[in-house]
Assembly symmetry: C2
Homo-oligomer: 234 residues x 2
Amino acid sequence: MSLICKPLFEHESSTFTYLIADSVTKEAAIIDAVDCMIERDIALIEELDLDLKFIIETHIHADHVTSACPLKNKYPNAKIVLGIENTSAEACADIMAGEGHVLPIGKHEITAIETPGHTIGCMSFLVDNKLFTGDSLFIRSTGRCDFQGGSASTLYHSIQKLFALPDSTIVYPGHDYNGFTVSTIGEEKKFNTLVREDYDQETFIKKVGSLDLSLPKKINVAVPANQSCGLISS
Amino acid sequence: MSLICKPLFEHESSTFTYLIADSVTKEAAIIDAVDCMIERDIALIEELDLDLKFIIETHIHADHVTSACPLKNKYPNAKIVLGIENTSAEACADIMAGEGHVLPIGKHEITAIETPGHTIGCMSFLVDNKLFTGDSLFIRSTGRCDFQGGSASTLYHSIQKLFALPDSTIVYPGHDYNGFTVSTIGEEKKFNTLVREDYDQETFIKKVGSLDLSLPKKINVAVPANQSCGLISS
């Protein structure tokens, strides 16, 4: 009854994709799959003989294009899942998941948690003690809040919801730029450089506001492509 | 009594470093730490309040310089551990570990397994159901065998030892170049492209011999530096 959990990395955008599955029934979900890695990801799904039920996007990404639509072409029974506030992409989604929406894979339940702030429609997903945080919470950092409806005060409140989970909850982020792969809620509450528990909302807003980041190279291609779930128009 | 296991990645050489620790006693070991990531690694050791007992090298690396000596300067009670056949580096090691040598961290035991072939002194290390394979076994691949005493026939036999472990054993490789992070012995026996269980020794030798790889950029710096455990002579 154990959960298969395969973190997969895409180097150009430093994106983590997660393939998770019930080890008995082989029902599976993939979170934040990247277009250029689709061959690797399909090969792994085939090797592990998985039954892909859900293709989950934590949000409308600005730095890479999702492989959601191409994956659905390959696995037509899989449902594309987006957060409920991503109305710009509603046409390509099968499920618009709101707070508490449950996506079952075998004996395991993937529970949606609305965590807006990096973008307006950002979601996190909890399976057993594993939390997939997308760009809401990184290891020792967080997503930026300066485009696509982002709001540092909103993200601050979203992260407080995640910080209410048990300290032992394992954090799997949507990106990492420093070679980290895994953390815990307990660690992030103590050591996150932007949002640890002894920083108040004003401190967080000031820290996120002073990040001084350039725009993602692919933003003008990625956002519209991801609003159609990675559908390549011919 | 659970084991903390933090896979850490260094992008330039695609090297995995592993920080492992007993969650209760905080006794810890670091496997294949990289010189340029020492600040990240020390920060994590400090944050987690770990008591570093062992600085383990799976082999004399050719593609990056270890931070073993600088780490020992910081944590003088930690022992540098090398495989017993690495006689060229014996002067800087505290423990020359042979087959079955046990390195205790709290309630957990790190057991050395001699797996020569990529280099003459290559080791793997088993902790609970977690196998750290260095460059002996990669995800769907293996280390090359064309320098530092490498031998494909020797590596073939080493990998058969690893394949005798339970299929559920989790494989943590020394490198990955495709964004994989974790596998199992069962998966590698079925799907490794060079050494899966239905390939005989001759097939493996032919496949490894035809890899046609260029030399690592840092080989002329890294090998002598690692023969002194990363000691920078002033």
